[in-house]
Each structure stands twice: as structure tokens, then as C-alpha cells.
């Protein structure tokens, strides 16, 4: 696997696979429980204006997350 990029870089409409999570244990557990686990494909649906939250889909679940938190999710290049 080549260098990873953060989930925040994903363009609306694009899909990529989660490579790893670098969040603290609490956030990591929450992200995994919501389906953001290594190996899962994640799709960017839209990005809020004014540095607003991201709207992503992972599996059968849609999430909103702040960019700061999404930066903890590394995507396989």
C-alpha cells in the first residue's frame, strides 16, 4: 500500500477504502462502531461550506463528521 491520504481529501462522489484510524481510543471505538473500519469502502457524499462537516456513507450507514475528526481516518491510496 502506498502513502495514505486522509478522508478529508476525498472529493464528493468519490469512494475509497479505509486504511487505518489514528484517533484516540474513545473516538476510534465510536468510528468503528459506526462502520468506519479498516478495509471498508467509504464514499464522500458532500462537504459542508465554511469548513462545515462532511457527509459520508460507509456500508449501509450515512454519517456527518467534522473535518478534524475525519482527518484521523486514513484512506488507502
Amino acid at each position: 500500500m502506498r502513502t495514505d491520504r486522509p478522508l478529508t481529501d476525498l472529493r464528493p462522489g468519490a469512494t475509497a477504502v479505509v486504511a487505518s484510524l489514528t484517533a484516540d481510543p474513545g473516538l476510534r471505538q465510536r468510528l468503528e462502531a459506526l462502520g468506519l473500519r479498516p478495509g471498508q469502502p467509504v464514499q464522500m457524499l458532500r462537504r459542508g461550506w465554511w469548513s462545515g462537516p462532511l457527509h459520508v456513507r460507509v456500508g449501509m450507514t450515512e454519517l456527518m463528521m467534522r473535518r478534524r475528526d475525519a482527518a484521523c481516518v486514513a484512506l488507502a491510496a
Binding site: 481510543p25 465510536r30 462502531a33 461550506w49 462545515g52 456500508g59 449501509m60 454519517l63 456527518m64 463528521m65
Partner: protein, 609 residues
């Protein structure tokens, strides 16, 4: 009595199932070792009475949130006969983990796959027999919202309770015939954590077919408009304005009609009955108790309408979109999208909104949210404003005044956040589920609104009775004085506070109403009815308008909007923050803000005109 616990992730329809199973006669129960209250109710299956407990929604039995700790402590302290694990059938791809954790703890369990209708619509197909065999637990598909599959759940519970000790489907060590609390919960789950992922994958492979493409076109299309970067927020506020307009248009005529009816009952039916009693007691019962209660009871339809509307917005999935839309703005205030949604809920009642801050883990964020929520113009305050606006302004201007007060409520909240965000910094992550849009069902929304109104009435009744009785006594003691004159207790109190309240246009009569409004805003109107000796809303309005000028009335409304909402809110801020100092800050700040705002308004109007 057997105890059954409902366990599941947030947004799985757990509470709907709870209401369907129990007929929503729930009460709040205290459980040993828990600091929070859980909803519980009895249900009867085959003549056997069982106790059903609704546990808080959790993502992971090993999770770090308060709710997750509560569930752990519950399972470690309470012997449960059966755990009903509620999963969202369309999200089995991530939710099966929770069922696997329950299975690892060898708890007697039934797995309920709720929202089966939605799963089918989205193209998820589930082979529940295979799933049940592989998981070693009974699996039932249902749709709690429509009441489908309820009988199957009851059947599974019945079977499981009869057989959980004798022929457990799994050959593993059996639970004892008498249930025992879970031992070493965390250690056992930690030891087998690594098995969860492969086990979930294997179950999905064997029994669940997921669609290759997301099938919910409706949600996709609606989101394209409702979450649009430019259109989203205007649409949301337009929708809210429309809802409030609708509540106003339908609710106020009902309120006025009901008020007039209750007044007529008092005059025609109760007054003749009371004639044998001494005059003082007559006045106390009719002018104190009946008029005060009647004025408040007349407001119940508006509250019911409000909760009905909020129920529709929440159940449709639009409320979580509001969190998405507002988050960028809220982040700059040191808050987040959830604070916005809670403040919005606070427009119904501040108390549950403050309780709702429990979802926040970061203390700074939680305290700042608690400081902001009391500025939400709750239904009890709306009650006062609708009345005052109708008494002092023609209909069109009145609506404008109400709108201005909503705006002021928003400004006060934003100002408070900006002033205090430095003192309560936070760095809480924000990751929320955006559920698909759903059509709320009428019975669901109605039963929720009914529960809220019941709760409101129960919560405020004691305060109201105490309040109106106290107001009446203050006005009529010492014995023999002219009611509410400067010699009565209330008159003396008004004179005492005049140096502070005179500059903002609050006269002694209004002072008494404000003093009691500190207990609850529901009393303000009842109190005014007692002070002015009029229960019929129109007559009361005329009596106040004869005593007070319009700038005084608006100043009174501004003060009522901004100072402490009610004692219940103070009590809940105290119990949730666990800090007397913070509670004092909240009360003191809101009083200061209220006084300054009223001062600026009242003196401003005097200077201008």
C-alpha cells in the same frame, strides 16, 4: 418477577418497541448502582407479569461514553432473565457486533431485527433462520413502528423464558436457573474482542445480502435539496417559521375558547356551590385556585401542538440534518450541531433539553450548552407572550412581537456562547448518524405528544398550584386589606423592589408575577389572573392594558424571556453540572442580561418618544 432488558444502538427504534410491548405505561425506575433513571414498565405475556427495562442506546459494550458505562453497571448489578437485543435490520453490516458481545457474555438473549420494512426497501435481505442458527440465539424480524412482528417477539420471549435454563440451543456452559449479574464483564469482552470482526463477517456472509448500490433514492434526492449549501439553511428556517405560524394559527383560538369555557364553568357552576363558604375562602378557591389553574390549562393545546410538530420533525430525520446544517456556525461559538438541536428542543421545554446534554462527553462543551439552552423560548414562556401580545397589539403587530422575541432568544444564546466560550473550551469529536428520511406514523407522533403533555402537566401542576395560591395569599394578606393594594404583602414587596425594577418599567403588580415566574413561567399568567382578578383572557388582557403601557409590557416580556426559566431548570442544571458555582453563574448571568436588555429597551423607547 422476571426482568427483561432492552439493549441496542441509538436509532434502532428501541423505545418504539418498548412502547409497543408495554402500551407505554412506563414509569421512571431507580436501579441500584446507577446515577441515572431508566424507563421501565410491566408487560404481561400469557398471564405472567414481566418487568421490561429500556437501557440507554449504546454502540459498544466496551465503549467509553456515560451511557455505555451505565449499561455495563446495570448488567453487573442486576440479574436479568432475558436481554432483547434490538438491531436496525438495514445496518446489520455494523450492528451485529453488539449481538455478538451479548453472546460472548452468555446472557440469555433474543435478537430483534427492527425496521425490517426499511431493510427490504433498501435491498437488504436477511435469512433469519440461518442467522439464528449461526449466532445461537433466536432471531426475530419486525417493524416496531407499524407493529408488525410484535407477536413473534412475544412468542420468542415466552419460549426463551421457559427454556433458557433447560435446553439452551448452544452446548456451552448454561446460565443458572436463577439469573445472576454478569461477572467480570469488561475482562471477558476484552479477551474476545479480536473474535468480533471475523465472527461478524462470517455471519454476514452466511445470512445477509447487502445491496451493491444504495437504494434509498428518496433520501438522496431530498438531501440534495435540504442539505444544499445555499438553500439548506433558508429552507430549514422557513420550515421552522411555518411550523410556529401553524401552531400559532391553530392553537391560539383553541386556547381562547377553552379559557372562556373554563371561566364560564367557574362563574356558572362553581361559584353557586361555594356561596355557603366564608368570603375569604370563596375568593381563595375561585379567584386563586380555579382561575390560576384554568388559565394554565387553557394553554395545554398549544403545548400539545408544539410537541406534535417537533415529533414529526424529529421522526422524519430532518432534525439530525439541522445538526449538519448548523454545525459550522455552532463550531465558531464553541458549540456543535447537537447543541443547536438541543436548543431547538428547548423551545418545547428546557428541562429535557438540558438532560439531553448527557450525550456530550466533553465537560466544557456540556457546560456551555447548558448555559445557552435556558435562553430557548420554551412553551411556558410562549404562553405568557401569546397572551401579552394579544392584549397589547393588533394581530399582525402581535405576530411581529412574538417573532422579535424568538429573534431575541437566538441573539441571547449566541451572545452567551461568545462571552463564555473561552471559559468553557472543548475539543469533542462530532460524528453523528444521518438516518434515512422516514414518514412519521400518526400513532407514534400522537403518543409521543400525549406523553410530553402529560409530563408537562405533571411537572408543572405542583408548581402552578403552589404558585397561584401563594400569589393570591400575597395579594390578600394581611386580612382585610384591599387586594393587591400597596398595603398588601405583594404591594409591600413591589415597593421594596421598586428601585431596581422601576427603571425597566416593571410596576409592583408585574413584580409579583415576575417573582413567581422564577418558580415557573406557567405561574406568570395564572398569577396575573389572580392579581387582576380576571380569568377570562380577554377581560384579563383589558385589565392589564389599563394598568400598564405597551413599552412596559414589552419590557416585561423581554425580562420574562431572558431571566431564569424556572426552578426545575435550575434544579436540573444543578444536578447535571454538579456545581453550585456554575448554577449560580447561569442564574446570575441570565438575570443580568434580562435586566440590561429591558433597561436598554424601556429607556430607549422613553428617549425616542
Amino acid at each position: 418477577m422476571n426482568t427483561i432488558a432492552l439493549l441496542g444502538m441509538p436509532n434502532t427504534g428501541k423505545s418504539t418497541l418498548f412502547n409497543q410491548l408495554t402500551g407505554s405505561h412506563a414509569q421512571i425506575g431507580n436501579w441500584p448502582g446507577l446515577t441515572v433513571d431508566l424507563m421501565q414498565a410491566q408487560l404481561r405475556i400469557d398471564g405472567q407479569t414481566l418487568q421490561l427495562v429500556d437501557l440507554p442506546g449504546i454502540y459498544d459494550l466496551r465503549g467509553h461514553s456515560d451511557d455505555e458505562a451505565v449499561v455495563r453497571r446495570f448488567l453487573e448489578a442486576t440479574p436479568v432473565d432475558l436481554v432483547l437485543v434490538v438491531l436496525n435490520a438495514s445496518q446489520l453490516d455494523r450492528q451485529l457486533r453488539l449481538a455478538l458481545q451479548v453472546q460472548q457474555l452468555q446472557l440469555p438473549a433474543v435478537v430483534v431485527l427492527n425496521m425490517a420494512d426499511e431493510a427490504r426497501r433498501f435491498g437488504v435481505s436477511i435469512d433469519s433462520e440461518t442467522l439464528s442458527r449461526e449466532l445461537g440465539l433466536p432471531v426475530v424480524l419486525m417493524s416496531a413502528k407499524y407493529g408488525r412482528g410484535l407477536a413473534a417477539v412475544q412468542q420468542a420471549v415466552r419460549q426463551r423464558l421457559q427454556t433458557s435454563s433447560s435446553n439452551d440451543p448452544r452446548p456451552e456452559p448454561e446460565p443458572a436457573p436463577v439469573p445472576v449479574p454478569v461477572q467480570q464483564l469488561e475482562a471477558r469482552l476484552a479477551a474476545r474482542e479480536a473474535e468480533l470482526e471475523p465472527a461478524q463477517a462470517a455471519l454476514l456472509e452466511a445470512a445477509v445480502q447487502l445491496p451493491a448500490q444504495w437504494r434509498d433514492r428518496w433520501t438522496r434526492r431530498l438531501d440534495a435539496v435540504l442539505l444544499h449549501p445555499l438553500l439548506g439553511l433558508p429552507l430549514f428556517f422557513a420550515a421552522m417559521a411555518l411550523i410556529f405560524q401553524l401552531i400559532y394559527a391553530i392553537g391560539v383560538p383553541i386556547q381562547e375558547g377553552l379559557g372562556a369555557l373554563l371561566d364560564a364553568i367557574g362563574k356558572q357552576l362553581i361559584q353557586p356551590l361555594l356561596t355557603p363558604l366564608p368570603t375569604f375562602l370563596q375568593g381563595f378557591l375561585l379567584e386563586g385556585l380555579w382561575q390560576g389553574l384554568g388559565t394554565v390549562a387553557a394553554f395545554l393545546p398549544v403545548i400539545a401542538l408544539f410537541f406534535l410538530a417537533m415529533g414529526v420533525v424529529e421522526d422524519s430525520g430532518y432534525l439530525s440534518r439541522a445538526a449538519y446544517l448548523m454545525d459550522a456556525f455552532m463550531e465558531r461559538l464553541g458549540l456543535d450541531g447537537r447543541s443547536f438541536v438541543l436548543s431547538l428542543m428547548g423551545f418545547g421545554c428546557n428541562v429535557p433539553a438540558i438532560l439531553g446534554t448527557r450525550v456530550m462527553r466533553d465537560r466544557g462543551l456540556r457546560l456551555l450548552s447548558m448555559l445557552v439552552i435556558p435562553f430557548s423560548l420554551c412553551s411556558a414562556r410562549l404562553n405568557v407572550f401569546l397572551f401579552m401580545a394579544a392584549a397589547f397589539f393588533p394581530a399582525r403587530q402581535g405576530a411581529l412581537v412574538i417573532f422579535g422575541l424568538y429573534l431575541m432568544s437566538f441573539v441571547a444564546a449566541v451572545l452567551t456562547a461568545l462571552v463564555f466560550k473561552g471559559r468553557f473550551p472543548s475539543s469533542e469529536p462530532l460524528v453523528l448518524e444521518l438516518p434515512p428520511y422516514r414518514l412519521p406514523t400518526l400513532p407514534q407522533v400522537l403518543s409521543r405528544a400525549w406523553a410530553e403533555v402529560k409530563h408537562f402537566w405533571f411537572w408543572s401542576r405542583r408548581f402552578i398550584i403552589f404558585g397561584v395560591v401563594a400569589v393570591w395569599l400575597l395579594n390578600n394578606l394581611p386580612l382585610g386589606v384591599e387586594p393587591a393594594s400597596s398595603l398588601s404583602l405583594s404591594g409591600r414587596l413591589g415597593t421594596l423592589l421598586a428601585p431596581v425594577l422601576d427603571p425597566i418599567g416593571i410596576n409592583p403588580n408585574l413584580t409579583v408575577a415576575l417573582l413567581f415566574g422564577f418558580i415557573a413561567k406557567e405561574i406568570v399568567l395564572g398569577g396575573l389572573a389572580v392579581i387582576y382578578g380576571q380569568a377570562d383572557p380577554v377581560a384579563l388582557g383589558q385589565a392589564i392594558a389599563a394598568d400598564v403601557s405597551w413599552p412596559q409590557a414589552v419590557s416585561f416580556m423581554l425580562f420574562t424571556l431572558l431571566y431564569t426559566p424556572c426552578l426545575s431548570t435550575v434544579a436540573v442544571i444543578r444536578s447535571e453540572s454538579k456545581q453550585l458555582g456554575f448554577t449560580a453563574l447561569s442564574v446570575g448571568w441570565s438575570l443580568l442580561l434580562a435586566w440590561l436588555t429591558s433597561l436598554v429597551f424601556f429607556q430607549g423607547v422613553r428617549l425616542l418618544g
